[in-house]
Amino acid sequence: MKAAELVEAGPPAPPPPALALAPGARARFRRAEEDPPWARRTLIGAALLFLAVFLLLPAAAVLGEAFRGGLWAWAQAVTEPEARAAIRLTLLVAAIAVPLNTAFGLAAAWSVTRFRYPGKSLLLALIDLPFGVSPVIAGMSVVLLFGARGLLGPWLQAHGLKVVFAVPGIVLATVFVTFPYVARELIPFMQAQGTEEEEAALVMGASGWQILRRVTLPNVRWSLLYGIILCNARAMGEFGAVSVVSGHIRGLTDTIPLHVEILYSEYAFRAAFAVASLLFLLALLTLAAKRALRWSQRRERRPGGEA
């Protein structure tokens, strides 16, 4: 087409409004503006209905039942001695399980994402294993190993040590169940980041620990933190595995979730919900933390950063 012909055809028609990008609008919402409003509203309504029935209702029920007797009753239920013992035990178990699994997660992530060697996929499958196993089976394996009739039972009895129906058993069962959480957060993230910064540090003369401390950890801190929070939430909230192992000895081997069960089975509904609301609050904190961490992560990346 010669220049003259183009001019005569006139200026090109303005793009249809739907495709025009409003200043600041994020690209992925642009598409949705094109869906007819009735379709949009129906879909949103249906989705929210589903979420309301299956999510909001149970959540509201916990809070509603917990505070039905008033704030005073709630506080009483939460501070009575057996509840406090349960809280102490839960905190103790988490204080042991979480650091252990964090150290493991770091080691595993470093090994799997920073080196090439055969058998990695087997390793990854094994790390994921506790995730796919029913918590009851986890507890059962602890019993099989350390229970009175278990493999090491006689040896433990001879030495006067108790694992099952005692705190060590609870710790072991919790460690098994929360094992993969930190690794699962770190591994894909470190995989995606690549090894360039660490290699640069190496060529510049840094030792392994210097690289870990100054280069790797600052880069992975959000994923690491999130993994720790998830690990902690599961450690404090684990029920099935701990239930099998604990023996339900009130005041001694009850964690908060087990205490909730005991209260409920004694028809102390109000108290059960009150104690459960503590865990509910923990869950909300976990969700809030996830939100905050994702936001921080995105904020770091946005201004044309290296990632």
């Binding site: 290699e199 640069a200 540090a201 190496l202 510049m204 030792s207 950063g305 290296e306």
Partner: protein, 358 residues
């Protein structure tokens, strides 16, 4: 303190990446490793840095074997294509890093950082973070960081590959000037011929894990040792013919080829600017038809068809000559190859760099 590479080979699994590579980097020179993707140049650089270990061969620097030392002990400076700046450290902290991990005293570190930041012309930006800098600025930080410990060898892996064209140009010239000032023995990896020629003292052309040719830019351009080198370093027309007794024939045309005595099929390579066009026939010319005339700026590309010689030939003229000839698509024209290079052989590897395909 020359860097000597002798017989280095490396494979990744079943895939050979370097095959018996020999080369030397004289002290104080800037040598470019030039070649297409996959030719092994980056792997060779990483072997020099200590990030890869060759399967066989020797590498020495100033006579001392380099391979016995890990990456950490070699004191080389390495600049990555994507900068590899520590994203959670400021510019100043990035540059200080190599000194801090060697536990240098604080005063020394601060002074050196100031000096380096000034050297790369980023004064005043030492407190910024990498994501607040432009690509060109980031690469300069990476360079300052690599030079912090006064390394004896500087290695650069396609340092300007991630930058846009104008910034690349500026930084190329700037790097050359920096090298002229500091004279650090440097090895520079690139796939961009213009970049290699502009920056380096010597160019090493690599292809499929082997060194094809080594020399100054002028040497490799004017006396390419193989068809690969000739085609990699610019557009080229390829004519099929044969050689016998020191002479080469393409159709009716005859060229001297003193080194080739044996009779064999051959290819005659001619650069576009070495094809002279004339309206009237000249001795040693053949007729052709103009297909297309493209003005590229200061030069003009003429695409030609010459049955019997080539379907898609390319000639390059300067503007005045093009105006003088006043060529239009469809015109008849006469083509005389002036300087040619003859390589014996049957088949050419398929290669998209060829200007013409026979």
């Amino acid at each position: 303190m020359t860097i000597q590479v002798r017989g280095v080979s490396k494979s990744f699994g079943a895939q050979p990446v370097l095959r018996e590579v020999h080369l030397s980097v004289p002290e104080g020179e800037l040598v470019a490793l030039l070649g297409p993707s996959g030719c092994g140049k980056t792997t060779l650089l990483r072997i020099l840095a200590g990030l890869e270990v060759p399967d066989s061969g020797e590498v020495s620097h100033g006579g001392r074997a380099l391979l016995d030392r890990g990456a950490r002990e070699r004191n080389v400076g390495l600049v990555f294509q994507h900068y590899a700046l520590f994203r959670h450290m400021t510019v100043g902290e990035n540059v200080a890093f190599p000194l801090r991990v060697r536990k240098r005293p604080r005063a020394e570190v601060e002074a050196r950082v100031r000096e380096l930041v000034g050297l790369v012309q980023l004064e005043g930006l030492a407190g910024r973070y990498p994501h607040q800098l432009s690509g060109g600025q980031r690469q300069r930080v990476a360079l300052a960081r690599a030079l912090a410990t006064r390394p004896e060898v500087l290695l650069l892996d396609e340092p300007f590959g991630a930058l846009d064209a104008r910034v690349r140009q500026e930084l190329r010239r700037w790097l050359r000037r920096l090298h002229d000032e500091l004279h650090v023995t440097s090895v520079f990896v690139t796939h961009d011929q213009e970049e290699a020629f502009e920056v380096a003292d010597r160019v090493v052309l690599m292809n499929a894990g082997r060194v094809e040719q080594e020399g100054t830019p002028a040497q490799v351009f004017e006396e390419p040792a193989s068809p690969f080198v000739m085609r990699f370093l610019g557009a080229v027309n390829v004519f099929r013919g044969h050689v016998d007794g020191g002479r080469a024939w393409v159709g009716d045309l005859e060229f001297s080829a003193p080194a080739l005595a044996e009779r064999s099929p051959a290819h005659v390579f001619v650069r576009p600017h070495d094809l002279e066009l004339s309206s009237a026939p000249l001795p040693g010319s053949f007729p052709a038809r103009v297909e297309r005339v493209t003005v590229l700026g200061a030069s003009v590309r003429v695409e030609l068809r010459a049955p019997g010689y080539g379907e898609r030939l390319e000639a390059e003229l300067d503007l005045p000559r093009s105006h003088a000839l006043a060529l239009r698509p469809g015109d008849g024209i006469h083509v005389s190859p002036r300087r040619v290079r003859v390589f014996p052989g049957h088949d050419l590897e398929p290669d998209s760099l060829t200007a013409s395909a026979l």
